[in-house]
Amino acid sequence: MNGAHDLGGMHGFGPVEPEPNEPVFHAEWEKRAFALTLAMAMPGRWNIDMSRFARENRPPAEYLSMSYYQIWFAALEQMLKERGLVGDDEIAAGHSLRPPKPVERILSPADVAKVLYRGGPTEREPRTAPAFKPGDKVRAKVMNPRTHTRLPRYARGHVGVIARVIGFHVFPDSNAIGAGEDPHWLYAVRFEGRELWGPQGDPRSSVSIDAWEPYLEPA
């Protein structure tokens, strides 16, 4: 979707402001919102692409006015409600008002280290040969899906060069809408600064994106 999350190249946000000696979390609720989000992925059975879409899929003004963990928390509540795991009345009451829906498994303290260490690899056994090789010129397709995509707007329609064939990876555009992993070849594609930004671009800079084969066409 062409949401407010797709920020690359926008103007007007002001300078970057690093915080000296920044803590990992800035409030107790951030810690709990973070941990709840990680822990609920197991009983909730959603994938990372669904989570990303739940976060970005909100009105631009709302997205830009919320803090990072406010967005995480809003997406968590929404995914829980969509799956019937929690009701609005229960959130308002602050207590469970109905028996739980059966869930396959939950995250136990004994499993935390193991689950984090394993992570969620997205590389799959290739089923096709890659269409492109390093050095090939490619154009990022012009597309505007209303659903989740990882092709940023600033790259669409522009010509770049395949820098590396990364591997055969789960396709977020499909995985986010529950249509299966549908893995595709993934490439690092390098775009020159002037190609992306015209006269305002830095002639001694480039931007690489990771792009799945369906995002690309020969140029």
Partner: protein
């Protein structure tokens, strides 16, 4: 927010969907165990051990796992080599992708609109705000983390560190130098 989050945690706990002890452990892990000191050890090893360096740039994920770091948000890591000619810098314009096992959770500025909007279009301007001024002929390569690949910048080893141990070297490696928005400390910075 405090009340809203607590209310939801109570509901989820009463339903048996979460174990609060697992939540405590997740928080403790990212507050105390997983952070940029991990990445600093990887970089320091690459500075002293040529074989390790070669393995790191060939396939970073197993090379980093040799030091015990792996997993969530670092399932597929690529190491980027800074040289006198090329400076690498990492961003995630679409959200906040960041190599957790080696750098921990991202700082607020990395997730913020100013950085995400400008890192791709004006990398030199952003670097200047971090106090980093590169020679104009240095090429800047920005990596937008749009997939599950996570990028780790390996900065250049500072001058004046010949014969230093890995541990001493690791103290020079800053978080920002592994994102590409900073440079490592110099030996003089340590004594300041």
């Amino acid at each position: 927010m405090q009340l809203r989050v607590r209310a939801l945690e109570t509901v989820l706990t009463e339903k048996g969907y979460v174990d609060p002890a697992a939540l405590d452990l997740l928080i403790e892990t990212y507050e105390t165990k997983i952070g940029p000191r991990n990445g600093a050890r990887v970089v320091a090893r690459a500075w002293v051990d040529a074989d390790y360096r070669a393995r790191l740039f060939r396939d970073a994920t197993p090379a980093i796992a040799e030091l015990g770091y792996a997993g969530r948000q670092g399932e597929h890591i690529v190491a980027l080599e800074n040289t006198p000619e090329v400076h690498n810098m990492v961003v995630c314009t679409l959200c906040s992708c960041y190599p957790w096992p080696v750098l921990g959770l991202p700082p607020v500025w990395y997730k913020s609109a100013p950085y995400r909007s400008r890192a791709v279009a004006d990398p030199r301007g952003v670097l200047a705000e971090f106090g980093v001024t590169l020679p104009p002929e240095t090429e800047i390569r920005v990596w937008d983390s749009t997939s599950e690949i996570r990028y780790l910048v390996v900065p250049m080893r500072p001058a004046g560190t010949d014969g230093w141990s890995e541990e001493r070297l690791a103290a020079l490696v800053t978080r920002d130098s592994m994102i590409g928005t900073g440079l490592p400390k110099s030996p003089a910075d340590l004594t300041r």
